[in-house]
């Protein structure tokens, strides 16, 4: 029953002259655009979104850090040393007597006789030059071969004893090195979680949109129910119920699954919505009437039309996953030491005393915020670019 009469252009008269769709049409005469595929159009449109492009670069950097975490870390992140408890971040000196020679100064610790707090004093005589590709603790590079080369180190001394770029925590572990390793875990938790929720979301959303009827109603109600449940207490309960004796890897995957159990609903809604709107598109009916089979209609016509939307929705879902992991671990219910994640690191700064004594423990918050912001901007940019034909 689509017998509505539309204006000759399908647009509300000339008001449509200002919509992007028409602007696209403007460039019709250009051959380059005429033969541009959808991917190219999306890329051209995305490129205009400056903030999203910058965010994309930032996120690539984050993932590079995650991949090369051990190379970037210069100290063994699990090495404890009571003598170095709560060291403040250490400045890098670039010049030594006027010549460019980046170095740090040796630090000597002592206990304040009145407050009993440990205080650290730089020794200006004890110059420790920085160098690139130094030897340090050994690790497996990309899990492939053993090496002990790290991006930076100190000439003539162990990095563990000399470098404290972001200070140390209560147990004297180097925060910079820990942050590098934590980035690997936190960024990958999000990714794995999103992939899991994608599988759930696309399957259920797809079923819902494709079949409709009872299947659709049941899945829709399920989504509604999950969305009206306060998620964090449930996660907390499920996470707390994980057996204590589980290994880091087991807990890691369990947490990822718990997080993705909640996150799939948004993706399912996006997928279902796209399916429903595509199902009523004339070009889908045209393909059916031409004799195309269900699989061809699905994969040649429908999936390409919402792939870009799904990528955008995934990008927007990632930060929520990262926040969830961070929050759970922060509360002591998610990843547990010896695992290192942003949330685990932040746990050190959970109470006011810790923050008052060692405010640098909160530095971890900065990469968390930057990553979440970048994902949001990137997701926004992708979403805007996802439909290059405008609507």
């Amino acid at each position: 029953m689509t017998e509505t009469i539309s204006s000759p252009t399908g647009l509300p008269a000339e008001a449509g002259a200002t919509t992007p769709a028409v602007v696209d049409e403007v460039l019709l005469s250009e051959e380059r655009i005429a033969v541009a595929s959808q991917r190219q159009l999306i890329w051209w449109r995305f490129r205009k979104h400056r903030l999203a492009v910058i965010s994309g670069v930032i996120i690539i950097l984050f993932y590079l850090v995650a991949i090369f975490a051990n190379f970037l870390a210069y100290a063994d992140p699990t090495l404890t040393e009571a003598q170095r408890s709560f060291m403040p971040p250490q400045p890098i000196h670039l010049f030594d007597n006027g010549t460019f020679r980046p170095h740090v100064l040796g630090v000597e610790g002592a206990r304040d006789p009145q407050t009993f707090k440990r205080v650290y004093v730089e020794n200006p005589e004890d110059i420790r030059p920085l160098r690139l590709f130094a030897h340090g603790y050994s690790y497996k590079f990309l899990g492939l071969f053993k090496t002990d080369i790290h991006l930076i180190g100190v000439d003539g001394a162990a990095a563990e004893e000399s470098l404290f770029l972001l200070g140390t925590d209560q147990l004297g572990r180097d925060m910079f090195s820990r942050l590098m390793i934590a980035t690997r875990i936190s960024m990958s938790v999000g990714l794995v979680g999103v992939v899991l929720s994608l599988v759930l979301g696309v399957t259920l959303g797809g079923l819902s949109g494709l079949y409709g009827g009872v299947v659709d109603i049941v899945i829709q109600r399920l989504i509604e129910i999950i969305r009206s449940i306060p998620t964090i207490p449930l996660w907390m309960g499920l996470a707390a119920a994980l057996p204590r004796e589980w290994s880091v890897v087991q807990v890691y995957f369990a947490i990822t699954i718990i997080i993705s159990l909640i996150g799939w609903t948004d993706l399912a809604r996006v997928v279902r919505g796209r399916f429903l709107s595509l199902r009523s598109e004339d070009f889908v009916l045209a393909a059916e009437l031409a004799g195309a089979g269900t699989m061809r209609i699905l994969f040649r016509h429908m999936v390409p039309s919402f792939l870009s939307h799904i990528i955008a929705a995934m990008t927007l879902a990632l930060p929520a996953m990262i926040i969830s992991e961070t929050a759970l671990s922060f509360l002591g219910l998610g990843l547990r030491p010896p695992a290192i994640s942003w949330g685990v690191l932040l746990q050190g700064g959970q109470n006011i005393q810790a923050i008052a004594n060692a405010p640098w423990l909160l530095i971890v918050a900065i990469p968390v915020i930057i990553a979440i912001l970048a994902f949001n901007f990137l997701g926004d940019g992708l979403r805007d670019a996802a439909d290059p034909y405008g609507r």
Partner: protein
């Protein structure tokens, strides 16, 4: 005006076609009624002619066409389609699997030139798709056929690598026509093919359709609300009102000497593009009846200026009156109605 084809051969016969949509209400989504979108429609189309299905929004003309294409499954009735070989199939009851083989003979042209072309495919892919899925696997063969089709509809074959966004509404509609022609169908269902186009482009598409019909011996079922467009393309016209056909006649007869009061009102309501022809019009009272809750008797009786008591009680059947016109009106013989002839 049968375009030189055998006048007697029927290509499509629609018999007592019904399509009701259930109305669901309440918590349990119980069926509380039905919209009688198509309510006992019968007509035939002869090979090589153009039959137009005309009516106002909601009259069921689009639903009828979708049932013929079997994009919707009819509630009741038959859609008998006859191949050139003489074999006859019932589209309404054909199992889905056999439907695929049959559909190449009936193709469709859509109203919206924007949503009917997949924006993510090139013209080659769009027009070549029916070929590909019907067994033309050779890329070269498809290239040849697509360029032939593009030339046929007045587009340049060298544009086949372009995407739909590079074309204007009229050009896109040509692409849609090319796609419909790809499999050499014998019947084309055109659902409001020009109503989304600018008025100056409409004539281009209508002319193209007339040319193609002559060239390829096509049969058209042309669904439209615009009587001027209908007059230009049709051999015969069927007028629908609230799910029923009220009149079928040859175009000239229908426009000059309508036999049904609704046809008369419809013709009278069309603004004539000549200020010297301003005249008193028949203006119908009220709104089109609700197909979920149609009036008794003749569905048109509450708005009909010639209503008599019988119309309120008795549903008039579609019957033949003098000159071969089919009319569903009790008073068809006694009324002299006004058409739109210039003279």
């Amino acid at each position: 005006m049968m375009n030189g084809h055998d006048q007697s051969e029927t290509i499509l016969e629609v018999k007592n076609l019904k399509k009701f949509f259930p109305i669901r209400r309440g918590f349990l989504q119980r069926v509380v009624g039905e919209v009688r979108a198509v309510d006992d429609v019968s007509f035939t189309i002869k090979r090589g002619e153009t039959l137009s299905l005309v009516g106002e929004s909601g009259c069921g003309k689009t639903t009828t066409s979708r049932c013929i294409m079997r994009a919707l499954t009819p509630t009741e009735g038959d859609v008998l389609f006859r191949l050139e070989s003489g074999e006859t199939f019932n589209m309404a009851t054909q199992p889905k699997r056999q439907l695929r083989g049959l559909r190449r003979h009936i193709q469709m042209i859509f109203q919206d030139p924007f949503s009917s072309l997949n924006p993510r495919m090139t013209l080659f892919d769009i027009i070549g798709e029916p070929l590909l899925v019907n067994g033309v696997k050779s890329h070269d063969e498809r290239t040849d056929r697509v360029s032939e089709l593009l030339t046929l509809v007045g587009l340049r074959p060298e544009h086949m690598q372009r995407f739909p966004h590079a074309f204007s509404g009229g050009q896109r509609q040509r692409v849609g026509i090319a796609r419909a022609l790809a499999l050499n169908p014998s019947l084309i269902v055109a659902d409001e093919p020009v109503s989304a186009l600018d008025v100056s482009v409409q004539a281009q598409i209508l002319n193209l359709m007339l040319d193609l019909q002559d060239q390829l011996g096509l049969t058209y079922l042309f669904v439209a609300h615009d009587l001027s467009v209908v007059k230009h393309i049709s051999d015969r016209v069927a007028v629908m009102y609230v799910g029923k056909i009220v009149e079928v006649a040859e175009t000239k007869k229908l426009f000059d000497f309508p036999k049904h009061p609704y046809t008369e009102a419809l013709l009278s309501a069309v603004p004539k593009p000549d200020p010297r022809l301003r005249s008193e019009r028949i203006v119908l009272e009220g709104d089109v009846a609700d197909p979920a809750n149609p009036p008794s008797g003749c569905y048109f009786h509450p708005r009909c200026p010639y209503v008599i008591d019988r119309c309120k009680a008795e549903t008039p059947p579609l019957r033949e009156v003098e000159g071969g016109q089919l009319v569903a009106c009790h008073r068809a013989e006694e009324l002299t109605l006004k058409g739109v002839s210039v003279n």
